[in-house]
Symmetry: C2
Subunit: 222 residues, 2 copies
C-alpha cells in the first residue's frame, strides 16, 4: 500500500471524524461536496484524497458513511493497537494524557516518565509513571512505538534520544526545541507559544486596519 503524504493523512483523519459524527447522527450517505464543506476543503480535494483508498461513491447517493469510514480506518489507523509513552506530566502532559485516553482508535498511552520522584511510581489517569532513567527499558519491554514530549525545552533533546534509541519511531513534540532525529523517525511539533504569538499579531493587525490611522494594512487587504 502506498504511503500517503503528510497533508493527506491529516485530511483523511478529519474526514474520519466527520463521518463518525454523521454516523452517530444516523446519516447513511453523504455527497463529496457536503463532506468537503464540513471539512472546509474543496470537493475536488476530497475526491483526490479518497482515490488513494480505492473507494468511490455513486453520483446518485454519494459516499456510504459507514463504508467510507471503514476504508479510512483500514488505511490510516494501524491494525494492531500501538502503544505510546509520554515524557513530562506537568500541565500540558497531564492534559494530553487525559485527552487521549480512549479517544483514538488503535492507540493507548501505557507509560509516562518524569524526573520528579514525587510523581513516579504512581498511576496517573490509569497510566503508570516511571523515572526517566527507566524509560529505555520500559519502552522496549512494552513495545512502545510512539512518544509524546512534554518536558521543559532544555530536556527535550535528551528525551528524544532516549525515545529513539529505545525504538520509538514517531514523536509528538510540545517542547520548543527543534529535535535532531535520525531518518525514519517522524516528528510533529506543536508549538503553543508560536501559535499564540501569531494569533496575537494578526489580531492586532486586524484591529489596526479597522482604525483608519493605519492605511497600509487596509490597502493590502482590500
Amino acid at each position: 500500500m502506498e504511503i500517503a503524504p503528510y497533508r493527506t493523512i491529516g485530511r483523511l483523519t478529519r474526514y474520519w471524524q466527520t463521518l463518525s459524527d454523521l454516523d452517530s447522527e444516523g446519516h447513511s450517505h453523504i455527497y463529496s461536496h457536503l463532506l468537503a464543506a464540513k471539512a472546509r476543503v474543496s470537493a475536488a480535494q476530497v475526491r483526490r484524497d479518497l482515490m488513494i483508498l480505492g473507494y468511490t461513491g455513486t453520483p446518485a447517493r454519494g459516499y456510504e458513511v459507514k463504508k467510507l469510514k471503514q476504508h479510512i480506518e483500514a488505511f490510516v489507523f494501524p491494525k494492531n493497537e500501538q502503544r505510546a509513552a509520554i515524557a513530562g506530566v506537568g500541565n500540558i502532559g497531564l492534559a494530553i494524557l487525559k485527552y487521549f485516553t480512549g479517544r483514538r482508535p488503535s492507540l493507548r498511552i501505557t507509560a509516562s516518565f518524569e524526573v520528579n520522584p514525587e510523581k513516579y511510581d504512581r498511576l496517573i489517569h490509569g497510566c503508570r509513571c516511571y523515572s526517566i532513567e527507566a524509560a529505555s527499558e520500559i519502552i522496549q519491554e512494552q513495545g512502545i512505538t510512539v512518544g509524546v514530549i512534554a518536558v521543559p525545552d532544555r530536556e527535550a533533546q535528551y528525551v528524544s534520544n532516549v525515545f529513539v534509541g529505545a525504538g520509538i519511531r514517531g514523536i509528538l513534540n510540545f517542547a520548543r526545541t527543534p529535535l535532531q532525529t535520525p531518518p525514519g523517525v517522524y516528528v510533529e511539533d506543536i508549538d503553543l507559544a508560536m501559535s499564540m504569538d501569531r494569533v496575537v499579531y494578526f489580531a492586532c493587525q486586524s484591529l489596526k486596519s479597522e482604525n483608519p490611522t493605519s492605511s497600509v494594512y487596509k490597502e493590502s487587504n482590500s
Copy 2:
C-alpha cells in the same frame, strides 16, 4: 509597517525565543548560521526574515543578541498588553490557561468562560471564570481581542460567533470544528487528534519499512 506573512511571524517568534535563551546564557553576539542552526532553518532564510525588521548584523561578529531581540519584539509583539479570554476550562483549557500565565510578552488571559455552573464565579489560576452567557459583555468591558476555544466540538462555532461578535479578532482553536468566521478574523487551529493520528501513521510506516516483508515503503524512502 508591512504585514509579515504567516510563516515569517512563526519563525520570528522562534528566533526571539532562541535569542532570549542566548541572552540569559550571557552571549552578546550570534552569527546568522548559528541562529539558523538553532532554529532549524537555513542561514539564507534567517537573513531574509530579518531584512523585514530593517536590522543587519556585521560580518565580523554577527547579530547583537539584545538588539536583535528588541527589534523582533517591536515588530511582532504588540506595544500595549493584549487581553485574551478562554472558553472551556476542561483539561486542555486549564493546561493552556496555566501555560500562558506570564509566559508571553504583552499577553494576559483575563477571563474564562464555562457552561458548567460549578466552575464559574471562581478564580482559576488568577483568572475569573464567567458563564458563557456573560461572554459578550465581559469581552467588550475588558477590551479582549484574542480568544482561545477549548470547548467540545459541537459548541465551538457558537463560541466563535460570540467571540467575533464581541470584537475578538484572533482565535486559537483547539476544537476539531473548522470555524466559519468573517474576513479580518484570524483563526489558528491546533488539532491534537489529527497530529497524533499522523504520528502514529508515520511511526507504523517506518516500522514496516524496517521489516523486510514490506518492500514498497523501503524502496520509496531509500
